[in-house]
């Protein structure tokens, strides 16, 4: 758990360097509007990376979160725009229900991942690869392959449905007025910050968090110490799935529509953010704030290159290079300590 100062803050320093570079060379980067936009764009990936960090710290991996965005999104949108729900519980109730269904579906699939991994002793890579495929298929099945979204004009419940979508948009695309901020502060960014703070608290201050690190550090020693290893692991995957579900809600709200193909390959971005933020795929190492910083680093990079008018292909190459740099640096700082 203890990490060296350099290793710990290197990513933060890298982020600041990147921001400084962007501020100097990319016109329009250093405006409050642009910075809040970055936070908004980063929020989905940061929330996924936060959940991913729990799993990675236990020594696992969760490939299913991208597909879960698709599945949880269409289930939430389906719930929200179903005439039955709207008639029964009204717009407010349907919105709440949609949030619960989306998050719950994500957490449930996550828990299933965890159960198969912890109790079934199947490698998490395989389990989540399978659920990734299943969830994507299920999302397409539910929707018939077409997005659920704005109702057609002839829809008898048109007013209610669009009102419900607007309500969810208040969460996914809403802005809270802040003096000095022309367009206000994006709600998803606020949710992201709150979640990361909560995640950091759980990981560093609670028994559960200590167990997560213990399992990743030495699963056998943890088990022999009476740590309920299987339950803790199941929890980590459920948290990751739940984060994916919540991220799906934000995405649906933002777009006012849920596509079955939403979130394609998002799991790789989440892993990248967690790893850039210092999580080790060997387990036992990683922080919630690190996940946020990792996601921000990717976000700032993309934004800066966008502003400079660099092709998106180059952005991908740059992102890959950053991942390699982060991991190389990590290995390099650790090697300095390793002696008999």
């Amino acid at each position: 758990m203890k990490r060296d100062w350099t290793a710990r803050y290197a990513v933060v320093v890298a982020l600041l360097v990147l921001c400084t570079g962007a501020a100097l060379f990319a016109p329009g980067f250093l405006t409050l509007g642009n910075l809040t936009t970055i936070l908004l764009h980063v929020s989905v990936n940061a929330i996924l990376a936060l959940g991913m960090t729990f799993v990675i710290v236990t020594g696992g991996i969760d490939l299913s979160v991208g597909s879960l965005i698709g599945l949880a999104g269409v289930l939430a949108a389906g719930t929200l725009t179903a005439s039955g729900t709207l008639a029964a519980v009204g717009v407010g109730g349907a919105t709440l229900l949609a949030v619960l269904v989306g998050t719950g579906a994500g957490a449930a699939v996550g828990a299933a991942n965890g159960a198969l991994t912890a109790y079934g002793r199947i490698a998490p890579f395989v389990v989540t690869l399978a659920t990734m495929t299943i969830a994507r298929g299920a999302a397409r099945l539910v929707t018939g392959g077409v997005p659920i979204g704005f109702p057609p004009t002839g829809d008898p419940a048109f007013a209610q449905k669009s009102a419900a979508l607007d309500a969810l948009h208040a969460i996914g695309g809403g802005r809270i007025p802040v003096p000095g901020l022309e367009r206000g502060f994006p709600v998803p960014a606020l949710i992201m910050l709150a979640l990361v703070a909560a995640g950091a608290f759980v990981l560093t201050r609670t028994r559960y968090g200590r167990y997560v690190y213990a399992i990743g550090g030495n699963e056998e020693a943890a088990r022999l110490s009476g740590v309920p290893v299987q339950r803790v692991k199941l929890g980590a995957y459920a948290i990751s799935g739940g984060c994916a579900g919540l991220a799906a809600i934000l995405l649906v709200g933002q777009l006012r529509s849920a596509g079955p193909d939403a979130g394609l390959l998002y799991e790789l971005n989440a892993i990248a953010a967690a790893v850039i933020g210092g999580a080790s795929l060997l387990g036992g190492v990683g922080t919630a704030w690190g996940a946020l910083v990792g996601a921000l680093l990717i976000g700032v990079l993309n934004n800066g290159l966008d502003l400079l008018g660099v092709q998106s292909f180059w952005q991908e190459i740059a992102k890959g290079a950053i991942i390699l740099l982060a991991v190389t640096f990590d290995v390099w700082t650790k090697r300095g300590h390793h002696h008999a």
Partner: protein, 526 residues
């Protein structure tokens, strides 16, 4: 004894003897095989080796002894080419060399066999023996030839097994012989063994000693690193003592007795002394094990533990001692048998269960099973009892720190007062074991089962651990002590159970409790 083996570089002829009998006046007669002069190795914050000299002669066993952290491992790494010295000179047959990589050391004929054996578990003995030097024709492995050569090398070491058997299925002693066979096949000229007997039973040690003698008879030089001074004195003709990275003594084995060696090692007088009980054991048992069975690991195991008593468990490695303890600790199941704890039926479904019932098991491999090395001392100590410091899931750090400090102080963690925020990975073997003890002390267990508690621990820490173990019994805990070191059992145990092939074949106490009696029971029907 001294023979110089000179070979053509590519010669592979089996059993060819290219030995050149040293004639009178041949200058290389006086040249040592390996000479280290004033070798220094620094790591950040610590000088692991400080101007150390070492001379190894062909055909002789040179022991290197010292407490943990004395620099033995670093010395071996330099010999193996895994580390390069910061200063000093290495000579091989009189000529200065740089051992820049393990590959280069191997090429010169240096094989280092580490405590954590460097074998690929899933591969057969033959594949392991030829790993990195496979015989092949046009890229296709000459599997038959290698299998035969491997079988031959193993047989030469007294191990007759199917050479294709995965190494994972072999015992530790057998794996060690596989490593030795690898050295033979490579035509090694110097073999260094790091704590080779740490995990072996007396019987296996005797076999290994015979194989080492065989190596030296072939003119191979042996560096033997060990904690067990009786073995060192039996096997080695010369001994070098390291302390805190310095060479403090080198000489002939005949010139030094064990007490003097220990004095050199620790710089003070210590010996294994008998720790007498501070109290009489309870008349009635606290823990009653009856007919415990899980074929094929153990059969019909019955014994009882009383508060205030230390019961030793002797036996060869692989006899089933650890398996019995692990079953009782809830780590693995048992099939039949009745166990009662304080009169209540006891059948733990998990280690968590066993801990809740007041049973602590300190595993033999503390790095693998006992500690989260990345965790601090505090985090390790409180892991089993975290619930105590958690109010609705949130850890109360202040209370946790107080408890961890108290437990660390109780086991005399060094330096004193103990720094509980140090990562466990930075501690010496003895201190790590103390952290494991502190951790289990905090669980307030009624029954404490130790599995090789002082393995790989230096002499000074060993004596302290002995004192702590006796103190536990005196506090009224029932103690089970599994140990392969008979002097340890003699120093601590009130009675000893001898396990052979998964059965308890005898119980010894009082006058009858002698090393000879234990060995007789452990090895053959006695």
């Amino acid at each position: 004894m001294q023979t110089d083996r000179k070979r053509g570089a590519e010669t592979q002829a089996p059993d060819a003897d290219y030995g050149v009998p040293p004639g009178p006046g041949v200058h290389c007669r006086a040249v040592s095989l390996l000479t280290l002069s004033a070798v220094t190795k620094r790591y950040p914050g610590v000088t692991a080796l400080n101007a150390v000299d070492l001379t190894v002669e062909a055909g002789a066993v040179h022991a290197v002894v010292g407490e943990n952290g004395a620099g033995k491992s670093t010395l071996l790494k330099i010999v193996a080419g895994a580390e390069r010295p910061d200063a000093g000179e290495i000579r091989w047959e009189g000529a200065p060399v740089t051992l820049a990589s393990p590959r280069e050391a191997l090429r010169r004929g240096i094989t280092v066999i580490y405590q954590e054996l460097a074998l690929v578990p899933a591969l057969g003995a033959d594949a392991n023996i030829f790993l990195g030097m496979e015989r092949a024709r046009g890229g296709v492995l000459a599997a038959d030839a290698m299998r035969e050569a491997a079988a031959q090398a193993l047989a030469e070491l007294g191990l007759v097994i199917d050479p294709t058997r995965p190494v994972a299925q072999l015992s530790v002693a057998q794996r060690q012989l596989v490593e030795l066979a690898r050295a033979l096949v490579r035509d090694a000229r110097l073999v260094a063994l790091d704590e080779p007997t740490a995990t072996l039973t007396a019987h296996e040690v005797a076999h290994l000693a015979a194989q080492i003698a065989r190596l030296t008879a072939k003119g191979i030089a042996v560096i033997f690193v060990s904690h067990r001074l009786d073995e060192v004195r039996r096997l080695a003709s010369r001994i070098t003592v390291l302390r805190d990275g310095r060479r403090v003594w080198t000489g002939r084995t005949s010139e030094v007795d064990e007490a003097a060696l220990i004095r050199h090692m620790v710089g003070r007088d210590v010996a294994y002394r008998r720790h007498p009980a501070g109290r009489a054991p309870d008349p009635t048992p606290l823990f009653d094990v009856h007919g415990l069975t899980r074929a094929p690991a153990f059969h019909d195991v019955s014994f009882s533990l009383r508060r205030g008593e230390i019961v030793g468990v002797a036996g060869l490695v692989g006899a089933g001692r650890t398996e019995i303890a692990r079953a009782l600790a809830g780590i693995e199941p048992w099939t039949t048998g009745n166990v009662t704890l304080a009169g209540e039926p006891y059948r733990p479904r998990s280690p968590r269960d066993a801990i809740a019932r007041g049973l602590a098991y300190l595993p033999e491999d503390r790095q693998r099973d006992g500690l989260v090395l990345r965790f601090t001392v505090r985090e390790n100590i409180t892991l089993p009892v975290l619930r105590r410091f958690a109010a609705r899931g949130r850890i109360r750090r202040a209370a946790e720190t107080v408890a961890a400090r108290a437990a660390a102080t109780a086991v005399d963690l060094r330096p004193s007062p103990p720094d509980v925020e140090r990562p466990a990975v930075d501690l010496s073997g003895g201190n790590q074991q103390k952290v494991v003890m502190a951790k289990w002390l905090l669980t307030d267990a009624r029954i404490v089962m130790f599995d090789e508690p002082t393995r790989g621990v230096d002499v000074g820490a060993k004596v302290e651990l002995h004192r702590l173990i006796r103190a536990l019994a005196d506090e009224g805990k029932a103690v089970l002590l599994i140990s392969s070191e008979l002097p340890e059992l003699l120093a601590l145990a009130d009675r000893v159970l001898v396990v052979r092939a998964g059965r308890i074949v005898g119980e010894l106490a009082g006058e009858a409790f002698t090393p000879e009696a234990v060995m007789a029971l452990a090895v053959e029907a006695g």
